[in-house]
Amino acid sequence: MDSSRLWLLRPFGERSTLIFLGVLLAAMTLVTLLHVAVPPGHPLYVSAYTVNLSGKYLSYALLAVAVDLVWGYLGILSLGHGAFFALGGYAMGMYLMRQIGDRGVYGHPELPDFMVFLNWDSLPWYWYGFDMAWFAFLMVLLVPGALALVFGFLAFRSRVTGVYLSIITQALTFALMLAFFRNEMGFGGNNGLTDFREILGFNLRSSETRLGLFLATGVALALGYVLCRAIVTSKLGRVCVATRDAEARTRFLGYRVERFQLFVFTVSAMLAGLAGALYVPQVGIINPSEFSPLFSIEIVLWVALGGRATLYGAVIGAILVNYAKTVFTGAMPDAWLFALGGLFVLVTVFLPKGVAGLLALRLRRRRDGDGSFSGKEASA
């Protein structure tokens, strides 16, 4: 079935992955060219604002891929992935805060403004190390990963699945939101972390840095996508699908289902954290609203709209919905939730497999005309 030695390279032998990477690369190139080579004012010019917005969409797309990995392939409907996203975002935010140095309003060499405002006189221990990029970037993956590991260990070990798991993931993100709202937590309370200046020495307000962040997010999405594809096309991926559809049977075959769930859930949480870390420097702020239970539900809607268990469907869903959101909230801010709800109802009724299902159907029709097949003829 595969000639590649490394399981990580297996996706490169798949047509769908190559198409996905090709489209992503083309989009990234196009945006870059239209931003750099076309003079401002020209109708084809892509502004720094649009580049920034596109980067934000791509980070949402990576988040959606992470959710599809656990929901689409493992059957775990996580309604708390926003928490992992936000934690990755906070880890990045802490790094960016410390990069401000003494250029804050209060000019304190070490303490972020909000700590000076709260009359703190020293940095809390958990802020140590975040002035170093390598440490902060490591934490972007490790903090969400560790939370997922502990949470998943407890949940999967006691066989909490289905709707109960969904509910406790909501509780998890809600609890974190309440915690991060508190000033005493040391994460800036309800204002969160903001007023960032530079990342790795590059000015965050310059359009070159924004372009760089957009491209970095595209690369992260490509890598995350390939990693997830490698997982789902491996034997482990097939065990995941087996678990999703018949957990007890899978266990009976000798697979320790809870360990597979924990592994994939943790990988997914780390990808969500990475998405959050790329999101924060592009929007310039991270605050507890990213922990809101509603946001986590929205992510699941993107995946459902795009089409579950395809990965590229998640990307399509995330970009489409967020683009629609940008347009809608500009025109009729109050109507957005109704539009989202309506869209969801329409898709569930008319496109149960999402946009990706529609694409796959058209492709298959084109490829083999009429794909009907009778199981009977072969058994005779």
Binding site: S234, R238, V241, D245, R249, Y255, F260, G375, S379
Partner: protein, 279 residues
């Protein structure tokens, strides 16, 4: 009680990671030996002084009316239910009453439950791949590759269960009978010494039944097979030694002709069926 026990041993469940050749010793007699086994549920004796001997490579049919204790007997052999008294031996070396479910499974006793469960979203080939005896920890599973040896093994089983032309199709499109065969194939992937098959032809078409009889008779010799069934036509078509179970113990044993002419058997079972048929 047995439920409690299996819950308690949860974290040790299914540690049979490496494919081991079954160490069962059949040089001195049968592959399966049950002596004076009794089980009662709340005072009701579901199995009552049951004696049963299965030879190596034998295909045995067990028949009996509903509630005769056929499924309970399989539960005892696989370690799911503990008898109140009696002996259960696998070969001359393994006392099954001292072992738990996964240990018994790893000895090479495979069981097919009444209701088929296959992974519908996966292909027939992939269903067999997952059932194969292999290192089932996370990293080996992640990096596992399908090499020639594995492919040959799966092809061999596909041939046996007659699903080769459908190997790349999702199991969800299979007919009920084909799912039963796939499930038998999944058991065979684990190279069992003894197969316990509970009511395989329930819900099958006439043709599928014939095919199943062929499949099971083809398996005998290479492994021992115990088939529980109450479709008499099917049992007759297999035409092997038949054991009639009634109220938890053996009522008669012999060829289909012998047992079906036994007056006690006619009274409790065949008679009842004959009456049904004449209705």
């Amino acid at each position: 009680m047995s439920i409690l026990r299996s819950l308690a041993s949860r974290d040790r469940v299914f540690d049979f990671l490496v494919p081991v050749e079954s160490p069962v010793d059949v040089r001195h007699g049968p592959i399966l030996y049950l002596e004076d086994v009794t089980v009662s549920f709340d005072g009701f004796k579901a199995i009552n002084d049951l004696n049963l001997t299965i030879d190596d490579g034998e295909l045995r049919c067990i028949i009996g009316p509903n509630g005769a204790g056929k499924t309970t007997m399989m539960d005892i052999i696989t370690g799911k239910t503990r008898p109140d008294s009696g002996q259960v031996w696998f070969g001359s070396r393994h006392d099954l009453l001292t072992m738990n479910e996964p240990e018994i499974a790893s000895l090479g006793i495979g069981r097919k439950f009444q209701k088929p469960t296959v992974f519908e979203a996966l292909t027939v080939f992939e269903n067999l791949e997952l059932a194969m005896a292999a290192d089932k920890r996370i990293l080996p599973t992640l990096t596992a590759r399908i090499n020639g040896e594995i492919r040959d093994r799966i092809d061999e089983i596909l041939e046996i269960i007659g699903l080769k032309p459908l190997h790349a199709r999702p199991a969800g499109i299979l007919s009920h009978g084909q799912k039963q065969w796939l499930e038998i194939g999944m058991l065979l992937m684990q190279r069992p010494r003894l197969l316990l098959v509970d009511e395989p032809v329930a819900g099958m078409t006439e043709q599928e039944m014939e095919r199943t009889a062929e499949l099971l008779t083809g398996l005998a010799g290479k492994q021992s097979v115990v088939v529980v069934e109450h479709d008499m036509g099917f049992v007759r078509s297999i035409a092997r030694k038949v054991t009639v179970l009634h109220q938890g113990s053996v009522l008669a044993e012999g060829s289909m002709d012998q047992v079906s002419s036994d007056p006690r058997v006619i009274e409790v079972y065949l008679g009842a069926e004959a009456e049904e048929e004449t209705l």
